[in-house]
């Protein structure tokens, strides 16, 4: 255990970077993904195409390929960000493709009749969105969004392959300096497990709240 207690600060610093990447990546993915979903369902054709192309390309590209393109490729065309910013942008951009599909799936799950009924009753666009469409849509979205959150947590480890000094990266660095390799990996694994379980539990609680006690 010495290697863990002696380097506690170093490891916790790595955990902090992982959490920063996760939060920035997930929040960014939520925002961008919602915008993309709006694009994909809009009546304006070019916006729909942009959304569709974005989702298909990003969902089918390995995250590592995206990271390497952004971190090492962008400077070649004269666009430079710091390493951490590049990684956070990748997490957000990558997650957004999945968020977009989750949001779209949620809206699709609302029956057309309910939305039409709301409009016949004279609800404005915002009102029907707020009171009729979003509540059931959100219930369908919670589980996929939780999966995306866990995906972002696990995906953030790939940033270590391009040199971001987060938890996985620091584990591997410490491993080279110490003889207690297995302990290190067990501790890091346990931390990731804890984050994923906490995320899942929070998602479950959220799901129970939005479903308002209804069995789904």
């Amino acid at each position: 255990m010495h290697v863990v207690t002696d380097n506690l600060g170093f490891l916790l610093g790595g955990l902090l970077v992982t959490l920063e990447l996760t939060v920035l990546g997930f929040v960014g993915a939520l925002l961008l993904g919602t915008v993309l979903a709006v694009f994909r369902v809009s009546p304006v054709a070019p916006l729909r195409w942009v959304g569709a192309v974005y989702v298909e390309v990003l969902r089918n590209m390995p995250l590592l390929t995206l990271l390497i393109l952004v971190v090492f490729g962008l400077p070649d065309i004269g666009i430079t960000f710091s390493l951490f910013t590049s990684a956070a942008l990748c997490m957000a951009g990558f997650g957004a493709a999945f968020v977009c599909e989750a949001v779209r799936g949620g809206i699709n799950a609302v029956s057309v009749g309910q939305a039409e009924a709301a409009r016949s009753l004279g609800f404005t666009f915002t009102q029907s969105l707020r009171y009729v469409i979003l509540p059931p849509a959100f219930r369908t979205m919670v589980q996929p969004l939780v999966n995306i959150f866990i995906g972002v947590v696990l995906g953030s480890s790939l940033a270590s392959a391009v040199g971001v000094s987060e938890l996985t990266n620091r584990t591997q660095v410490l491993n080279l300096q110490s003889a207690e390799a297995v302990v290190l990996f067990l501790v890091s694994g346990a931390i990731y497990l804890a984050i994923a379980l906490l995320g899942g539990a929070a998602g479950g609680a959220l799901e129970r709240r939005v479903s308002g006690g209804r069995a789904r």
């Binding site: 304006v44 070019p46 390995p62 999945f98 779209r104 809206i107 609302v110 696990l154 379980l197």
Partner: protein, 289 residues
């Protein structure tokens, strides 16, 4: 799909709405064209559009180098699939078993390996385990962790498949005098596997993405070969854009194939069973690696 969501949110537009949509379409097209032009200008300004920088990839030597990488990617992906699919079935049966210990161990395994990053596991096989005398060949340092992680995901897929097979099937098997194991083997599993085939194809996409981590263990799959190529040529953006294009095209084809299969399976099996499958949002893999 798009049409359905649009109908949820908007009524059929009237004449004024249609005019507005037309204007927005023109503005949208101009914006998209502007963005593409801006991107191309960035490439041009930094001298990345030069003919030689792209035509280089028409040379047999370059193509051969990337083809070697594709071969490595296929070997790693196929090997991982061949090993993890049957193991996934076994783990799913473990989780559904009546034996409490077996069930608990399987559940723990699944929860654990769905929650730790593949890269951490790969580092463990690459850097930590060799010190304890476990030093696998490079290919296996990539494939074994991929299999360990994906078995957990696959077990959940197979379990879902087994659970949606109609209860009546196992009752019928029992009525015919089949023992539980026999019923599972010759009645339930064949139907369950057929139901989840589309999801398995989607999972191939995930495996293919996982194989890019060969970059970390220096196994010569497509990503690693691309990196090796850039060391000699310095054609960084070009190489990685081409490689990204290859991944996107292959994965897109696989995803489309999965959707096609799903429609076929859906039309051929009992509707109750397929509802549960079709409701599964397509292409939301657990590991986004």
């Amino acid at each position: 799909m798009t049409a359905a969501a649009t109908r949820v949110l908007f009524d059929e537009p009237g004449p004024r709405g249609r005019a507005r949509i037309r204007i927005a379409t023109v503005v949208g097209l101009l914006l998209v064209a502007g963005l593409v032009a801006l991107a191309l200008y960035q490439f041009y300004k930094n001298g990345q559009l030069g003919r030689s920088r792209w035509l280089a990839f028409a040379q047999p030597a370059y193509l051969g180098f990337l083809a070697e990488g594709i071969r490595g990617t296929i070997i790693a992906t196929v090997l991982a699939a061949v090993l993890s699919f049957p193991l996934g079935v076994v783990l799913a049966l473990g989780r559904l078993s009546r034996n409490g210990v077996l069930r608990r161990v399987s559940t723990w395994y699944i929860e654990l390996f769905r929650s730790i990053p593949l890269l951490l596991l790969i580092y463990a096989f690459l850097l930590a385990l060799p010190r304890y005398g476990i030093n696998l060949p490079i290919l296996w340092k990539l494939v074994v962790p991929i299999v360990l992680v994906n078995v957990a995901v696959l077990a959940e897929i197979f379990r879902a498949g087994i659970l949606v097979v109609d209860q009546g099937q196992s009752e019928a098997a029992a009525a015919l005098g089949l023992r539980e194991g026999q019923a599972m083997r010759s009645v339930i599993l064949p139907q369950a596997v057929r139901l989840v085939v589309p999801t398995l194809v989607t999972q191939l996409v995930a495996l293919l993405k996982d194989s890019t981590l060969g970059y970390v263990v220096s196994y010569p799959e497509l990503m690693k070969q691309a990196q090796n190529l850039t060391v000699y040529t310095h054609l960084l953006v070009q190489t990685y854009l081409i490689v990204a294009g290859i991944y996107v095209v292959v994965n897109l084809l696989l995803s489309r194939f999965a959707v096609w299969l799903e429609r076929r399976v859906g039309s051929r099996t009992s509707s109750r069973a397929t509802r549960g499958q079709a409701a599964e949002p397509e292409g939301v893999p657990q590991t986004m690696a």
